[in-house]
């Protein structure tokens, strides 16, 4: 026994003793089955494959070498089934003699159409994919993290599921992006899908913090991708009915890795990653002209000694010492194993990711323990606990006057005014001042869950899940006492200020599902399911503020001369009951009907409950006797119709006043009230209704698989904020269920294995989706569009057009084609026109993996987004400022030759006076998102090192972009998680990343 095995068995024994639940050794009337599960083509071991004896409550999971052991198998002939995600399950019959060990090996063929795979999301219990009438995407996270440099859940999901649109966060580590499924289904109630982690509702929304111009910290970063086994994505109301009044935007369930019951040993997996991010995209150059006046002025040191007319340039961000390589260092480890009646998975992870700016980093430490106990054949208990602690320091950018990109891209070359400048070439603050900005958020996250599966009778299954997602944060913003006398962050900050903001979220889940499976005669089967979900959400925050510090070493709020405190609170509860009946015929035709009833504390007091029905049909037509297409292995036709809701925000049904304070003098106040919310007592959830049809096809020996879906989703009673006229005394908007929104589209997922042999395997996957989003109706509540976005409403919500689409105005022209100017200002045609959607309407991705000689794996992943536009507000602003080509070379004030170059100076004039249309650009792009090469050290050599497997991976992310968009990157957004606002304004683009990873399993 090698040292690693000794360690493994010693730890296993200790855990067995600790848990005290080690099963007894084989009884007299039982035997043991041992074996190995390998991939058919390459003969590589399949790790984590499930091996079971159906009907006998005996199961095991393969270890790092693909080995398994099934103990206490009743003597006699039994069927042994091996299955794992992405492969066709296999069943073998074996005869077990009492007290003996028999060997059974499995060689599984890969399969993209895994009809036997189990799905747990959107169903009352785990059911086979073949029974489901709607599309469910399963992202094999464990496989992806082996080859991909993705370090966040958002990166893990990007491009992996057709219909799932990821608008990535900025390149600043720790920031949040936006996720939507099958388009924009709501204007007011949000389009972020709801998240579950092992059945427990997870709050993926923003938890707040101190703003840095647009980006905010990400809640999803609390989850370590290395802990995820798979992610299930259910995409719309037809599939999400059983999640009720908050699920119309879809459901994403994260399923974490579990232990391996029956393994009788422990596997260890250690991974170390090292790399860097770099700001590789082109940054804009600023221009200035040394005029006669400038050459003589001390405020233009860049023009000193230069001939009049000299064009000087600067690219401040590229000055030495400004940008750095953002180091990435992470190390993670996990142990998993189990005995006859228990299993466990324990992991730890540490990630350190420096941003490219000096005051930017994201550090995360996570720990997770998943434990399963099976006290009897009828009872299984799974308990999970995870803890994450992260520190995120965010720099200013986007719409912040203190931002790095803003002060670089809008700087004036050669200019330095001692009264308002901090460094020549830079606008506003210089790098030394910006680096001082100290905004750190510490986040702690607990996710606790327990699931009890109890099957008192073979025909009656129960599942009860209870859990808590608890997040506690502390955002801290510190401005040291200004010693320069220039107050770069303002007069108050110059006195030294400290702000602490502590938001807390608690999300409780209680979920029961019961299924009765009566034994029907003949070809029919039936499952009657019923259940209940209770979800309770609480948010509270405390904020303290101190102004006027005595020294920069004393950072307690109580040390400050002036202190303040603030508090906020939010609460909402929901309760849903459902019943579902599924009828099967010959295990190939399944008809499902269900209804869910929901009540929610956010509904108005004059409204009681919502009802959501669903129906679906699944038909594995390839198993019908009449099916005669020999090249088709599997074909499932499916159709589903259903409804789900999207509830309004907390307290939005209430008509309220808010307490206020009348200022009598600077330190004396008196109570007052102000009008607050003009709530709607009839408020209810908006209702999404969807029909989808499609098929899952596997053919040519499962070498080609195609999933195709068409969906038509309508949001009825869409929540719209109907403006409250200020002349009523109230302001803002009043939610009403009046709108209608439509999303129609198609989704395709093609998986191909062109070559599959022991020494060379090539697998590819192509996905494509297209969507037609339309805001159908305001419900007669208004004639005017709703204006959104930057630049005075460049995005509109207007009947007949996509939500948040860009709209433009054409400039009016003289007969000779030049701009019509009045008082020197261009005149815009009052008639506005639709330019196009602000979010992609077409998406595609291509991933391909080649495995050579079993030891080398090459992986590449590219994606495309298109059919949309992006407002290049960065360039418009630079143009109006006078820092780029147009303003400086085409502005007659700066360049005597301008009239020859551009007689109209059109863009400069339009940029300054509201003509945003020229800067709304097509944003189609193709990105080479990921490339990786992995070398698997030969197993014999690995064993000499005491390991089962050793691999080394070199990977890159965001390597190339092909686009016509003129800005830095077509994926940037001024507010990463914003629902609608889409604009490119001084946002850090997704950064290029290179990492090297060593992965050791033993």
């Amino acid at each position: 026994m090698g040292s690693s095995n000794r360690l493994r068995y010693a730890l296993g024994g200790a855990l067995v003793a600790l848990l005290g639940v080690a099963g007894p050794l084989a009884a007299q009337a039982t035997g043991t089955i041992r074996g190995r599960v390998v991939e058919g083509a390459t003969q590589r071991p399949l790790v984590g494959a499930s091996v079971s004896i159906p009907g006998a409550q005996r199961s095991a999971v393969t270890d790092n070498a693909g080995n398994f052991t099934l103990g206490q198998v009743p003597a006699g002939t039994v069927s042994v089934r091996a299955a794992t995600l992405g492969y066709t399950p296999a069943v073998q019959s074996v005869t077990v003699a009492a007290g003996q060990t028999v060997t059974v090996n499995f060689s599984l063929a890969s399969s993209a159409i895994d009809l036997e795979g189990l799905i747990v999301t959107g169903t009352p219990g785990a059911v086979q994919r073949r029974t489901i009438g709607n599309a469910v995407s399963t992202v094999n996270a464990e496989e992806i993290t082996e080859v991909s440099p993705a370090t966040t859940v958002t990166q893990l999901l990007q491009g992996r599921s057709p219909g799932l649109t990821i608008m990535p966060p900025s390149g600043t580590p720790g920031t949040a992006g936006s996720i939507r499924i099958r388009g924009t289904g709501s204007y007011n109630a949000g389009n972020f899908p709801i998240f579950y982690v092992d059945g427990v509702r997870f709050n993926a929304g923003s938890q707040g913090g101190y703003g840095v111009g647009g980006q905010s910290t990400s809640a999803l970063d609390a989850i370590n991708p290395e802990d995820i086994e798979s992610i299930e994505v259910i995409k719309g109301p037809a599939a999400a009915t059983l999640y009720g009044a908050e699920a119309a935007a879809g459901v994403i369930q994260i399923i974490t890795k579990k232990g391996r019951t029956g393994q009788q040993s422990i596997d260890f997996d250690v991974k170390v990653e090292y790399g860097q991010d770099d700001f590789n995209v082109r940054t804009p150059t600023n221009f200035a002209t040394c005029t006669q006046a400038r050459v003589a002025l001390a405020t233009w040191p860049g023009c000193q000694g230069q001939p009049v007319g000299t064009k000087i340039t600067a690219n401040p961000l590229r000055e030495p010492g400004i940008l750095r390589d953002g180091g990435i260092f992470s190390y993670s480890g996990n142990a998993r194993g189990g005995g006859e009646r228990f299993s466990f998975y324990i992991s730890g992870d540490r990630e350190e990711n420096d941003g490219v700016f000096q005051n930017s980093y994201f550090d995360r430490t996570t720990g997770r323990g998943n434990f399963q106990v099976t006290p009897s054949d009828a009872l299984n208990i799974t308990t999970s606990a995870s803890y994450t602690k992260s520190y995120t320091r965010l720099p200013n950018n986007d719409n912040s006057s203190w931002g790095w990109l803003r002060n670089s891209f809008r700087g004036t070359p050669g200019f330095f005014n001692p009264a308002s400048s901090y460094r020549v070439n830079w606008a506003g603050l210089g790098p030394d001042q910006m680096a001082l900005y100290d905004n750190v958020t510490r986040a702690e996250r607990w996710i606790l869950s327990t699931t009890v599966n109890y099957q008192p009778f073979s025909w009656f299954r129960n599942r009860l899940t209870g859990g808590l997602d608890a997040g506690t944060r502390r955002a801290s913003l510190f401005f040291p006492i200004d010693l320069t006398g220039r107050s770069p962050y303002g007069a108050i900050a110059a006195k030294g200020t400290i702000s602490q903001y502590e938001p807390n979220t608690r999300n409780w889940t209680l979920d029961y599902a019961g299924t009765i499976t009566p034994a029907l005669s003949g070809d029919f089967s039936a499952d009657l399911s019923f259940g209940m979900q209770l979800n309770a959400y609480r948010f509270d925050s405390l904020e303290g503020y101190g102004e006027g510090l005595t020294s920069n070493q004393t950072r307690l709020i109580s040390n400050a001369q002036i202190t303040d405190g603030f508090e906020s609170f939010e609460e909402r509860n929901s309760l849903g009951l459902y019943v579902q009946q599924q009828v099967g015929w010959r295990n190939r035709l399944f008809l499902t009907g269900a209804v869910r009833v929901d009540d929610n504390s956010t509904f108005g007091e004059d409204f009681s409950y919502e009802t959501y029905p669903k129906a679906s049909l699944s038909w594995v037509v390839s198993e019908e006797p009449f099916f005669g297409l020999g090249f088709v292995d599997q074909l499932k036709l499916r159709a589903a119709w259903g409804q789900a809701g999207n509830s309004p925000a907390s307290f939005s049904a209430d008509q309220t006043y808010s307490p206020s304070s009348l200022v009598l003098d600077q330190s004396t106040f008196a109570p007052a009230v102000r009008t607050s919310a003009f709530g709607n007592p009839d408020l209810r959830a908006e209702k999404g209704e969807e029909i989808e049809i499609g098929f899952d096809l596997g053919m040519l020996g499962d070498r080609v698989a195609l999933e195709a879906t068409y969906f038509d989703k309508t949001t009825n009673d869409a929540l719209l904020g109907v403006p409250v006229p200020a002349s009523s005394g109230f302001t803002g908007t009043r939610l009403q269920n009046v709108g209608e929104i439509s999303n129609r589209g198609v989704e395709f997922l093609l998986s191909v294995t062109p070559v599959e042999s022991p020494n060379f395997t090539w697998e590819s996957q192509v996905s494509f989706s297209a969507i037609d989003n339309e805001f159908v109706s305001f419900g007669g509540t208004r004639d005017e569009p709703i204006l959104l976005g930057y630049g005075g409403g460049v995005q509109w919500v207007e009947e007949g057009y996509p939500l948040g689409a860009y709209w433009g105005q054409r400039p009016r022209r003289n007969a000779d084609g030049t701009l019509l100017l009045v008082n020197g200002q261009p005149q815009l045609d009052p008639e506005r026109y639709n330019i196009g959607p602000s979010v992609p309407s077409r998406e595609a991705s291509l991933s391909t993996t080649m495995t050579l000689f079993r030891n080398v794996r090459l992986y590449a992943f590219a994606d495309y987004k298109g059919g949309h536009y992006l407002y290049n507000f960065t360039e418009q602003t630079r143009t109006s400022d006078g820092n780029n080509y147009y303003a400086n070379f085409l502005n007659p004030a700066n360049n005597p030759n301008a009239a020859q170059l551009d007689p109209t100076g059109e863009r400069w004039l339009l940029a300054r006076f509201g003509g945003h249309t020229p800067w709304i650009e097509e944003a189609d792009f193709v990105k080479l998102r990921e490339v990786a090469a992995t070398y698997f050290v030969p197993r014999a050599f690995a064993r000499r090192m005491g390991a089962d497997d050793v691999s080394v991976t070199f990977a890159g992310r965001n390597l190339m972009t092909w686009t016509k968009y003129s800005g830095m990157d077509p994926e940037v957004n001024i507010e990463g998680p914003a629902t609608f606002t889409r604009a490119d304004y001084m946002s850090v683009p997704p950064l290029r990343r290179f990492v090297a990873t060593v992965n050791v399993r033993f």
């Binding site: 006057s401 303002g490 929901s574 309760l575 008509q655 009598l664 002349s727 204006l787 200002q825």
Partner: protein, 429 residues
Amino acid sequence: MTKGTTIRRLGAAFAVLGAVAGTAGCDSLLSVDNPGAINAPTVTDSALLNAIANSTQNEFQRAFTPMAYAGAILSDEAITGHNFTQWQEFDSRVVDELNSVLPDYYNAAQRARTIGDDMDSRLRELLSNPNADIRVARTAAYSGWGHLLLGMNFCDVPLSGTTAPVPSDSVMARALVRFDQAIAVANAARAAGISQVRVDSVLHMARVGAARAALWLNQRTAAANYARLVPTAYVGLVPHSRDQNSNPFFGATTGSNPNIGVDVRFRNLNDPRIRHIASPVAGHNPASSLFLPRQSSSFTEWNPNGTLVGFTENTGVRFASGLEAQYIVAEVEGPTAANVDFINTRRAIGGQAALGYDVSATDFRDALIEQKGRDFYLSGMRLGEIRRYQRQYNLNLFPTGAHPWLGVNYSTATCYTFTLAERTGNPAF
């Protein structure tokens, strides 16, 4: 027990469970608490009496100084240094209901106007003798000032959530009604034994407001009559506190991105009433060149001896005064000896030569307008005043020609307008 029996019993049990949860249980499971708000029906609780009595003043104070800032930008008092095009449009006298900054000011002014009526009705429910209660008088007076704020700065606006816009004259007429009501109730309160000091604080404020409204309406005799009853030393302040309602001029004139500068007409006057920095600096938009204002004579920390004093978050602003009342009397009466003396006193502060007693009515009027502009610089009066001068004297003091740094000529707007939300949400449109 057979399987069928078991199923039936389980079914019954779950049906009962469902029914329980769906009826009695739901209410308690779903009940939530909102400790941050007061439900509308409870705003007649006697425990809220003081809060109700203070709310109209509170809303006016919150609207006043931001409106003074916005009024300065649209008028000839100040120029913007903002990078935001919304402010650049205002500064170049382009006012559009689509402007996304506009709601901040329109909403605040409308709230200041409407809350007086709301709180007046609630006070009358709670008080035993509302027509002689100083709290009702104070509410009416600040309600009148809320109307003034709206009428002076905005063009046609609706006066309820369901009625069509009316001209500024109608708003001013309603202001006058509120001021008269305040005066009547305050006098009744004095008769009922309320202290002279408390009564006077309401009376003076109401009379200045009434005089201004009457002057706007060209009811000149009435204006002078209201004004003559105001002591010359009276000062009504909008106080500010960094904790609750900080002075917006502080943020606009400090830090690395200031956004307001003194306009050409008021620069380098060598008048201690109008202070600004000596050399311009770039503002939020680097192309701007701003003579940043410092506290002028309408602000509480103004130092008449020549020292520049920057704005703070706590800096209060004078909104009503005996000084204004004197100006109103002088404007109505014309160049009497007393009024010429008054104007000469103001001119002397700025080092300007005295007018002779034979000054023409027009020259006197122009001199009065000049001095009033200086005395009340940045205190929220200018936009309404130059609108009135244009209408009553055909005198256009709005900035024209080329803007100092935007590179365009000024447009023609003379007042702010209602918002798109008003037009969309108000069924009378």
